[in-house]
């Protein structure tokens, strides 16, 4: 594929970020264009429909569907409390009275004379959308939300768990190949986002949860440990809603994987600063990768524009190999032969020649590298 390449995960010390903060259904925007917001500023609010209970009057009162209106004691739109009588049928001479009570508190939403059912809608559930990152309201999307613009350091992970949170960044290891074991998790890590090296163990994660650590950013995790921590096995990579007590971001992949030097050194420089993180990952139909965003002052020369699509591969570019053998190794593109080449599997594929940091030159399928974005 002439234009096929795997865009690299972004590791940028300074870039412009535009966060679209949208309500799931229409509602009210709470901030104005040009305003300033903090991590926890509510920017929009709405209510989602509450639960619904259905009362089958035909069975409860023993009446025909088309007659239920006659027996209703409450009309559509009326508020009811749990246990209130909503319909009543008096028997012969007032005896054998049968009643239907509301199974929940809410509003009578519908009375159907086709099925003889009454629908009680519970009170709407209010929801708010937070700013998530501090910055300026660049645009208001009427009734929907806002776009917040900020300058920040941005690190994308490859896979994550858990949703949005924020806290100060702190390193729990000294080097990117160190394993984040349980003994490295200290009491003062509570409320913080801690950075590990090549691997985190399930024991370490459990201790993080018990201490109230907000997030863990680390190079790798064994799949078995991830399943143990979650309590189930993930089938498809759509994450972000797990309720596991913290947000986890894996920067390299599964197994013991040294965190890339670039990522580790940037996180080291950001130590002590407040970061917004989100573990949400969606690989199919709209790639969403987990992210670490640390707001930074605007640089004088202006930040990179995050929205510009990356260009394709060229000789001299830095790439990382993302499949065995040589998984995780970094090198520079030497050449991009046009003709197909046969690899060990005997597949004829488009390849590139990469000079690795250890001096070796290897031939790798183009599909098996990602660009390290400068």
């Amino acid at each position: 594929m002439a234009l096929a390449y795997t865009p690299g995960l972004k590791v940028k010390a300074s870039t412009t970020i535009r966060a679209v903060r949208r309500l799931p259904i229409l509602g009210e925007v709470l901030v104005a264009q040009g305003g300033t917001v903090e991590f926890d500023t509510a920017v929009a609010r709405t209510s989602v429909p509450g639960g619904v209970e259905i009362v089958k009057l035909v069975y409860l009162l023993g009446v025909d569907p088309e007659d239920v209106g006659r027996y209703m004691r409450r009309k559509v739109g009326d508020k009811v409390e749990k246990g209130d009588v909503i319909a009543e049928k008096k028997g012969f001479l007032g005896m054998f009275r049968s009643v239907a009570k509301s199974p929940t508190s809410g509003v009578v939403q519908q009375v159907s004379e086709l099925t003889g059912q009454v629908t009680i809608a519970e009170a709407p559930v209010p929801i708010e959308v937070m700013a998530y990152i501090p910055g300026q309201v660049e645009k208001v999307l009427p009734s929907e939300g806002v776009i917040i613009r900020t300058n920040a350091a941005l690190i994308q992970g490859i896979f994550g768990l858990g949703g949005e949170t924020h806290g100060p960044v702190v390193l729990a290891v000294r080097s990117p190949d160190e394993v984040l074991t349980v003994d490295k998790i200290r009491d003062e890590h509570g409320g913080k986002i801690i950075v590990g090296g090549s691997l985190v163990t399930v024991e370490a994660l459990r201790r993080c949860v018990s201490l109230g650590v907000k997030g863990v950013v680390v190079g790798g995790i064994e799949d078995k440990d991830l399943s143990d921590f979650l309590g189930y096995e993930i089938g498809v990579a759509i994450t972000g809603h797990e309720n596991v007590g913290l947000t986890l971001i894996i920067t390299e992949g599964f197994g013991k994987m040294r965190m890339s030097d670039r990522t580790f050194s940037l996180l080291k420089r950001l130590e002590g600063k407040e970061a917004a993180i989100n573990g949400a990952t969606q690989i199919r139909a709209g790639v969403i990768r987990p992210e670490i965003i640390v707001p930074q002052p605007e640089p004088e020369r202006g930040a990179d524009d995050f929205d510009v699509p990356s260009k394709g591969m060229e000789p001299g570019m830095a790439v990382r190999i993302i499949r065995d053998p040589d998984f995780g190794k970094i090198g520079k593109i030497v050449s991009l032969p046009v003709e197909l080449q046969v690899v060990e599997t005997e597949s004829p594929v488009r390849v590139l020649r990469v000079e690795l940091e250890d001096g070796r030159t290897v031939v790798v399928p183009r599909a098996d590298v990602e660009i390290i974005e400068e």
Binding site: A4, P49, E53, Q110, A121, V236, V308, R323, P365, A367
Partner: protein, 629 residues
């Protein structure tokens, strides 16, 4: 658009461009009339651009088409689209067609009254139209009404198909279902402000009430009942309505599709619908029973055309990249590793599969990883086919007169009607199957995944163009079929497999083949073995097969069968491993057996087989000598 399509003059069409916008890759295929026949000329591929930051599917299409332009030096792109008129031999085209599954394809919910009757018919119709069925709502689905409402709100389908009741029958339950939908008020996945399309294909008597309940809040289309009477399933009107709504409501809200729709005079088809159309055509033209499979990165589509009945199923979360870990979860690690000829480090294998899931476009560079992906493929095929058999079965709810003989028949009336002994061909498409370095790898994966019995032909899509030909066949069937036969369908050969079990190492099968040159080849296989006889594509041989008394190849237990067989790039595959296929529990014995099978079909490079053999401490050469020669 439709007018233009019908006004096309097939005779004047010489140059055709077809694209498929997949969830990951947009694939362009260039076809041309060369010396009075239509042929495939060239392929181009590029990443699909339906998502941010591009959000315009036509960019990916243009990139894929540009690769074709570069490779063959034929100008196809204008500044704003495709050059849709042939200007000279090197510029423009006569026809452009496309399919799409980008952005998740067509995602539907279906609703019916009884789970195993109208809801199942609705599910079959939606799947047949190329949809992914996200959930099935029925009065007896075991969930409470508020749970159904929550699911509908949460899932946000592209469309809902509602069935229920026979014509003139009771309307209460179908109306109850419709009222639940109105209460839930599910929002469409794409396009914030537009009405969710609903197709009503239930009891005619309820139409007026359905219109009253849903008409103002949804884009309602009413079609003929899918089960007018219990004994009949009439899915075509619902299927057609789904296709129309797919274009009008779903595609028009996906990024860039408004533009793409203007580039082609032919309605955009969902990829699986187009793919299914070609499998169906294949079966109809040859008048045979065919099982087809599209093994993709996200989904596994299985198609069967059996005794004139066409069924398509999609296993939405079984696939070879995005969904690879769902195969792991559904099949279990042991079922995957049973196909591996090397010592397995469980932790490592799990990590390898997870890493494929998070970087789905990577391809194996080592034989170990290739064999691992093929192991997963076997399980995806097996599970996909199991799912398929749940829908490929007779209509339920019908009163069946049972005889004494039926009572002694072990099969239940709800069991699938597909009898593998009467499946004449298994054909596969999709990245892994089409791009396997050796065709024998695809053949073996299809055999192990589907377990054919008796005499079954094997075929595959050469470079993934069945969807392209499927949509092309709607306007130019001649071109589609010529290309299909000459350039798309790779005949891999014929599998001859014994049904039943016999003692390990005992005689299982004797075969005498009269080859095209008149020579005779004889083979004897012990139970548990597999072997191969070269017979080139386009060649035929006459074989006489004598199974052991416990085994059947199509004529009955122990009865000989004489028949003609077709050759192919792999040849004749003799499978004496028995059905069901049981792999040895002992790990070493199992690995030794796998190596024999791989080696017999020359499925993987010799040095890799030898390396695996050495790891076992038993060089494969010795095993080959042991083999029933």
């Amino acid at each position: 658009m439709g007018d233009l399509a019908t006004s096309l003059d097939p005779e004047k069409i010489q140059v055709i461009l077809a694209t498929d916008c997949g969830s990951t890759t947009s694939k362009a295929r260039f076809f041309k009339k060369i010396k009075n026949e239509y042929r495939f000329v060239c392929a181009g591929e590029a990443p699909t651009t339906v998502e941010a930051p591009y959000e315009d599917v036509t960019l990916g299409v243009r990139n894929a088409v540009r690769e074709v332009e570069e490779l063959i030096g034929h100008r196809l792109l204008s500044e704003n689209g495709i050059i849709d008129k042939r200007i000279d031999d090197k510029t423009g085209i006569d026809l452009y067609v496309t399919t799409s599954s980008a952005g998740g394809g067509l995602q539907m919910m279906v609703a019916g009254v009884v789970m195993t009757m109208t809801a199942e018919s609705a599910e079959r119709a939606a799947l047949g139209a190329g949809a992914i069925v996200m959930d099935i709502i029925a009065v007896n689905d075991g969930r409470r009404l508020h749970e159904k409402i929550e699911i509908m709100r949460h899932l946000r389908p592209d469309m809902i198909l509602v069935a229920g009741g026979t014509d003139g029958g009771d309307t209460e339950h179908v109306i109850q279902t419709v009222e639940v939908i109105r209460t839930a008020e599910p929002r469409a996945r794409l396009g914030a402000g537009y009405q969710l399309p609903i197709v009503y294909a239930g009891n005619r008597r309820a139409r007026r009430q359905v219109e009253e309940i849903l008409g103002s809040k949804f884009a309602l289309t009413i079609v003929d009942n899918i089960r007018p009477v219990l004994e009949l399933e009439n899915s075509e009107p619902a299927r057609e309505a789904i296709h129309e709504l797919f274009m009008e409501h779903v595609m028009s809200h996906a990024p860039g599709y408004n533009k793409l729709m203007k580039w082609t005079p032919i309605p955009i088809m969902p990829t699986p619908a187009a793919e299914g159309r070609m499998f169906r055509t294949l079966a109809e033209r040859r008048q045979i029973n065919v099982i087809g499979v599209g093994l993709g990165g996200a989904t596994t589509n299985v198609y069967s055309m059996y005794d004139g009945k066409f069924v398509r199923t999609v296993s939405a979360n079984l696939g070879m990249s995005y969904s690879i870990c769902n195969v792991l979860r559904s099949a279990g690690l042991q079922n995957i590793t049973r196909w591996l000829p090397f010592d397995v480090d469980e932790v490592k294998i799990r990590n390898v599969l997870r890493n494929k899931m998070i970087r789905p476009t990577t391809i194996p560079r080592t034989i170990d990883e290739l064999v691992t992906e093929h192991a997963v493929a076997r399980e995806a095929l097996r599970l996909g086919f199991e799912h398929h058999k749940l829908l490929a079965r007779g209509l339920r709810g019908i009163r069946i007169q049972r005889t004494i003989a039926d009572i002694f028949d072990q099969r239940s009336f709800v069991e699938t009607y597909i009898d593998m002994m009467h499946v004449h061909m298994i054909a596969g498409t999709g990245g892994l199957l089409s791009h396997a370095p050796r065709r024998a790898q695809t053949a073996l994966a299809l055999i192990d995944g589907f377990l054919p019995e008796g005499v079954t032909r094997l075929a595959q899509d050469s470079v993934f163009m069945m969807p392209h030909l499927g949509v092309l066949s709607t306007v130019h069937p001649t071109a589609a079929l010529e290309i299909f036969e000459k350039d798309c369908l790779v005949r891999m050969g014929t599998c001859i497999a014994v049904k039943g079990r016999a003692g390990e190492g005992l005689d299982a099968l004797k075969l005498t083949a009269v080859m095209p040159d008149g020579s005779t080849v004889q083979k004897s296989l012990k139970f548990g073995e597999i072997d191969q006889i070269p017979l080139a594509e386009g060649m035929r041989a006459t074989v006489e097969i004598e199974p052991a008394k416990e085994l059947d190849v199509g004529a009955g237990l122990g009865k000989p069968l004489k028949t003609d067989v077709e050759g192919g790039v792999v040849g004749l595959i003799l499978d004496a491993r028995g059905r069901p296929l049981i792999l040895p529990e002992d790990s070493k014995e199992r690995r030794r057996r796998l190596l024999r099978w791989f080696s017999a079909l020359d499925a993987y490079p010799k040095d890799a087989i030898e390396r695996y053999g050495q790891d076992l401490g038993e060089p494969v050469k010795e095993s080959e000598q042991e083999k029933g020669s």
